[in-house]
Amino acid sequence: MDNPIWTYIFGAPKEKRLTVELMKSLPAFEGLSGNELLTVERTIHLRKYGAGEVIFNEDMPGAGMYIIQSGEVSIIKKIDERNDVELAVVRERSFFGELALIDEMPRSATAKALKDTVLYAFCKPDLENIMDRNPRLASKIIMNVARLICKRLVQANENLEVIKKKLLQHGDICEK
């Protein structure tokens, strides 16, 4: 039953239930009913990555967000040709890459599996398909993603303020 075609034909109720449970706990799918979660579950893609395998590369067009069922993913940003910096490590029952759901702009960082990782990919075309068939559900997801982006923007602004203050203090010290 490993063949995806048989899985799609005969279904896998237990796996489905687990996926729906996982999705329920994520802010991107907050407020979705059981049926709506099942609709999303039917569109998402199960992907398996080996340790060290790249999920997506920085500067490449983004296709969508990933939910981690198991494993760990490192988010890496290129500083220059030789040096990278690890921005975050995303763990089980978390997600990343949600900006690509809204826009196909190039990825801002690279995502790499730190160990054997199972992900659910929910891509922009999947969201657009839902939009065509169930705009109410699509608008709920988009609103959730927008809220997440707003939160992160506020957080980024706060971080910027802190950095600004630190730089000003550093500047004062240097002048003295």
């Binding site: 039917r42 893609h45 997506f56 067009p61 296709a63 075309p125 398909n129």
Partner: protein
Amino acid sequence: MVAGVLVAMVYFFKLLFAPLLASVLFALLLDPVVNYFETAGFKRIRVLFGIYIFLVIGAACVAVFVVPKFISEAQNFARHLPEYKVSIKGALTELQYTLQQKLPDVKIPDVIPLIKSRIPGGNGMNIESVIDNLSSFFALLSLVVIVPIVTFFLLADGHLIAKAFLAMVPNTYFEMSILLIHKIISSLKSFLRGQMIDAAAVGIMTTAGLAVIGIPYFLVIGIVAGVGNLIPYLGPVIGLVPALFAVVMQPGGLTAIAVIKVIIVIVLVQFIEGTFVYPIAVGKSVNLHPLVVIIGVTVGGQIGGIVGMLIAIPLISIVIVTFQVLHSYLKSYSII
């Protein structure tokens, strides 16, 4: 054994290629309709059954109201064919005589046997044999059984088929593949929808225009003009030639006023189509060079006759749309 399997595969592929292609095209055309009703809160499967019932009723209405008219026009045409043959033969002989008179030094060949030799089955071609050839058992079976069934499943579970295919794509190419497939399907959907709207508009306008000026066989000519419009540049000619032919068949025969009226109708239809319908329905998604059109139509005609000519340009356009999308994505993923 392997050779046998291969031969069987090629045979089945050849057998199923046309019905599968037709099913994909129908699915792409019907998908927005199904989505529209699904958005309104209906279950997809119920919408599909509803559409199928509507199509059966529509087909029955066409069979009851349009087909008899079409058959009567075709029968009328077949009945008058000997007279038309005589009239065209007379006109050609007269033309040959006039040319010979005006150009005594040039040897004008006998055009009638020449034309007969160029028309496939020209010696003894009749309507019945053409219909017999067209409605072969499998063509009918595929049209009535295979196409509706495959279209139904593509509309009901098309996304699952795409999902199953994507599950087999290696991780490195997953994101690129999903974006690419989505973009190609969206482009094809809008292109096909636009072409269908355009063809229907030309068909309806030509039928109405010819009916108003009292040209016989206006319905058949309108359908031919609509379908022929799928071929850019040649579309207007495809509408004009049978219309002029119909003028010859009129009781009054060929008159300058009748010809001018037909030309005005065809030009007006083409003006409305080119100015209002085409830019909105099709846009500038595919702009084919006239040379590509001529080569495409010629090759299509050589391979598949009239049907080949008709599907050559839409097929080339589909391939071009696919390559345009493929090229831009492969470039953005730094593959080329």
